[in-house]
């Protein structure tokens, strides 16, 4: 609920990312309708993904950037 409230606030200002309610996995990305080859930004709850997870997911979704909420907020100007 807290996550959804936070995302709702941010989404109104920044519509670009896809927000996930859980850490990204093959199933959760696919269930978001994110086709393989899709480009864009996915924001998920902290902590940031480990390097192995990132490598694995990038093998299928090489065009997706996966950032945790804090990483994304840190990059926002």
């Amino acid at each position: 609920m807290l996550w959804q409230s936070r995302v709702a606030t941010l989404r109104s200002r920044h519509t670009r990312p896809v927000f996930l309610t859980r850490p990204p996995e093959f199933a959760s990305l696919a269930s978001q309708g994110l086709d393989l080859g899709r480009k864009g930004l996915v924001v998920h709850p902290d902590p940031p993904l480990g390097n192995e997870e990132k490598t694995l997911l990038a093998s299928a979704w090489s065009g997706l950037r996966l950032l945790s909420m804090n990483q994304w907020l840190a990059e926002m100007q």
């Binding site: 902590p47 940031p48 480990g50 192995e52 945790s68 804090n70």
Partner: protein
């Protein structure tokens, strides 16, 4: 905001985090401080940055967390190349430790952190050299010189410093540790992040720099505080705007502080202009 701070790859960040005398007055506990340090370590390692730490990782309960993070954010599959943390042990601390305890510490940290013994002169001391010395109680002069020497060495091998909490009344050395580390960073234009939400030296320095308003528990003077009079919030050189530094110096929200530290470092990395002259082997 800086545009030409020199960072190296990988960026190494010094963490100064120790007990704050104000923590209860700010409605927080030592647990919140540990959470803040853990959150910072997670975000820095995930951002491919390394860490230098001057306190006992085991006593601070960070050993297990670092073990997990070292694997999670490993750059290499080679365990020998996985170490992302440097733990500096100053002369007055390790000279009173039995050599067996130092060896046990180094062994316990293997694969997690590199234990660096710092000599009286601020140079790196090998374990073999230390074995040739008898353990003894350090003199007051050794405390003063040895702690400053360690802080100088740590500064020379890091690219930025984050300060949280810090005692200002009970300390060994020339001046309160967190304050001395902040001062060294200011003098050397090393990027400095003052996380003031836990009070202590970090908050006091932020007040001295005009980033935080005095509060009911603000202290008057302590040894070395006047050294900060020549500096302002504009001297932090940390990639953040003044408004962001004011927020960092006052926010009670750990998540917000962590985001701001990471934001400053990301900006500094983006403006990277080459080698900082950091000692690679320190």
């Amino acid at each position: 905001m800086t545009t030409a701070t020199r960072l190296r790859t990988p960026v190494r960040v010094a963490l100064s985090a120790s007990e704050s005398p104000d923590i209860a007055a700010f409605g927080l506990s030592a647990g919140h401080m540990k959470d803040a340090v853990a959150d910072l370590v997670v975000q820095l390692m995930a951002a491919d940055m390394d860490i230098a730490y001057g306190r006992d990782l085991r006593k601070d309960g960070l050993r297990h967390l670092l073990f997990e993070l070292t694997i999670r954010y490993a750059r290499s599959e080679d365990p020998e190349e996985r170490t992302r943390v440097v733990h500096h042990l100053p002369w007055p601390v390790h000279i009173r430790m039995p050599i067996e305890e130092i060896e046990r510490t180094a062994k316990e940290l293997r694969g997690i952190a590199e234990l660096v013994l710092v000599g009286k002169d601020g140079g790196r001391m090998t374990l073999q050299t230390r074995r040739g010395l008898s353990s003894r109680k350090p003199t007051p002069a050794e405390w003063t010189l040895g702690l400053t020497a360690m802080r100088r060495l740590q500064q020379s091998c890091t690219d930025a410093r984050v300060v949280l909490g810090g005692q200002v009344d009970e300390y060994n050395g020339r001046r309160p540790g967190a304050a001395e580390e902040a001062l060294l960073s200011l003098r050397d234009r090393q990027p400095l992040f003052l996380v003031g939400g836990f009070g202590g030296a970090a908050r006091d320095v932020a007040e001295a720099l005009g980033l935080a308003e005095p509060w009911a528990g603000s202290r008057g003077s302590w040894r070395g505080k006047s050294d900060f009079q020549e500096w302002t919030g504009g001297d932090l050189n940390n990639g953040l705007s003044r408004e962001e530094n004011v927020t960092l110096a006052t926010t009670p929200f750990v998540g917000q502080a962590v985001v701001l530290v990471l934001r400053g470092l990301i900006r500094l990395k983006a403006n990277r202009v080459g080698s900082s002259g950091r000692k690679a082997d320190a």
